[in-house]
């Protein structure tokens, strides 16, 4: 469950409370947003976040005070989502990314055509288009965008949160952004933004 391989800590009840209040709770809004984007349901998001914090408290001795609490919490939430929540819902089987990632790690990448989307049409999207487009992506793709663009995690931290190599973080992120652009370019087309 721990992010870094650290020896078990020995905290007093008072210390546990302090860590929980000062290092864990400040991330509640980010955690809730992540939970909501994954489940797309406010109640499920609440349950998921609550579950995550209870687990974090239960395993608090695996957490080394003063280290990256946010990454540790995000990792627990992501695992809870996959192990508990996803099992309950009838999600289709995971897409096999192997092929995709081999492709994006190859030389082909520079020749690949990016979706036809313009900065100007992006700037016209002032409503929920971006948010809806993000929500509509597959869980693994939206997760990397949330971690990187919204929460500002470094590739290395993302690799630890997601249990994947950094190269995979990069290629998945690249793929996710292209998918997001595709969605937005469809939207721009339907609104007639790209006519010019």
């Amino acid at each position: 469950m721990e992010l870094e391989e650290a020896p078990k800590q020995n905290y007093s009840e008072k210390e546990k409370g302090e860590i929980f209040n000062q290092e864990f709770l400040p991330h509640i809004h980010s955690m809730y947003n992540f939970g909501y984007r994954l489940t797309l349901d406010r109640d499920d998001a609440k349950d998921l976040v609550q579950d995550t914090y209870l687990k974090a408290y239960r395993f608090i001795e695996s957490f080394q005070k003063g280290t990256n609490a946010k990454a540790w919490l995000f990792r627990i939430l992501k695992n809870s989502f996959i192990n508990d929540y996803r099992k309950k819902s009838k999600e289709p089987a995971k897409v096999d990314y192997q092929e995709v990632e081999t492709y994006y790690n190859s030389e082909e990448v520079d020749r690949q055509i990016t979706p036809d989307l313009r900065v100007e049409s992006l700037k016209d999207m002032i409503g929920d288009e971006i948010s809806n487009a993000l929500n509509s992506l597959d869980v693994d793709f939206k997760t990397v965008i949330i971690l990187c663009d919204l929460e500002g995690f470094k590739y290395e931290e993302m690799a630890k949160i997601l249990d994947i190599p950094i190269g995979t973080v990069r290629s998945r992120l690249h793929r996710a952004r292209n998918l997001l652009k595709e969605k937005l370019s469809e939207y721009a087309k339907s609104m007639g933004y790209n006519k010019a």
């Binding site: 955690m31 809730y32 947003n33 609440k46 914090y53 313009r118 992006l122 993000l134 990187c148």
Partner: protein, 88 residues
């Protein structure tokens, strides 16, 4: 461009792709040296030049449109209560 001084070069001396360089810059994970190199690179690489603005705008839009607001106010209280119950 087979520049041996490319600061993006990987340990195995493999030439980095434009996508890799752009990503590193975009995500704020580039060193000063890499930033300088990329600036010059953009002057003669149209795909990077074009992608840079679009990708930067998209990243900024995601940041401003998808932050999702605050967690419900009762959530923290609920969590604290549950912990008290379990540890007593």
């Amino acid at each position: 461009m087979n520049n041996p001084m490319n600061p993006f070069a990987k340990p195995d001396q493999q030439k980095p792709t434009c996508m890799e360089m752009l990503q590193t810059i975009l995500d704020g994970q580039a060193t000063e040296e890499q930033k300088q190199y990329f600036k010059v690179h953009m002057d003669h690489c149209m795909p990077c030049y074009k992608s840079y603005d679009l990708d930067m705008s998209l990243k900024q839009l995601v940041q401003s449109k998808c932050c999702g607001g605050a967690a419900p106010t009762d959530l923290v209280e609920k969590i604290k209560q549950q912990i008290l119950q379990k540890s007593s």
